[in-house]
Subunit: 149 residues, 2 copies
Amino acid sequence: SSVASKTLLKVGDVLRETRVFSSEDIKAYAEVSHDWNPLHFDPESARKAGFENRLVHGMLVSSMFPRIISAHFPGAVYVSQSLHFRSPVYIGDEILGLVQAIALRETKNKYIVKFSTKCFKNHNELVVIDGEATAILPNLDMLQKSPSE
Amino acid sequence: SSVASKTLLKVGDVLRETRVFSSEDIKAYAEVSHDWNPLHFDPESARKAGFENRLVHGMLVSSMFPRIISAHFPGAVYVSQSLHFRSPVYIGDEILGLVQAIALRETKNKYIVKFSTKCFKNHNELVVIDGEATAILPNLDMLQKSPSE
């Protein structure tokens, strides 16, 4: 099983994870969010809006950011997130999530960290989502291997 | 069944929806997002971080915004969303989502609309999430009753 070795997070460090979204993911996300926008289910409606095919929900792709942060820092408290949906994500696209620490300060023995948060596709050539997040981390111990699936 | 009457969206109009999140919602969201942060599952870990109990994922509560926009404007394309997580949301809290059009312009027979997006709890006294969203609407026909569940 994966050995969790600990290093301390510092500014410049990059956390990354890849994921491919399926039509089951879209359906499961719609069921829990109640977001049944036809762009995610009806290829014709997506094409009418100028896309190649039906889209993965932007907020589902964006969920990679808090996922990546909390997988490395269990107990992290999410403070803010900005999101710019630059390009569509389709079923089967391999998405790379990159979360980079860009500012860090300690306060009352907790750490407020600002991250740049980006998702890419097409072998990291095309930015699909970018933005920034701020989180309060209980400590800087960065679990190398994410403890949960 | 609900009668969908149409009015045209104008600046100042407010779209609203309420929702109560359950522990099943938290589990379903974690399964599709892979976000298993203990704050959402382990009351002890949440209390250690200063909360009363385990939290609903901020991104799950935030999903009310694109849900509300697309329920009234099927085919809406989400362009951006900023999110500030101001207060925790717990299982059983009744959350009111308010999405207000604050700017609107037409371009190439589509409509770019900026919305202020807020979620409240405790009978609308406490802001839990606030931010702004921008979406491209195919038209301004506002379905009064959301067509989907």
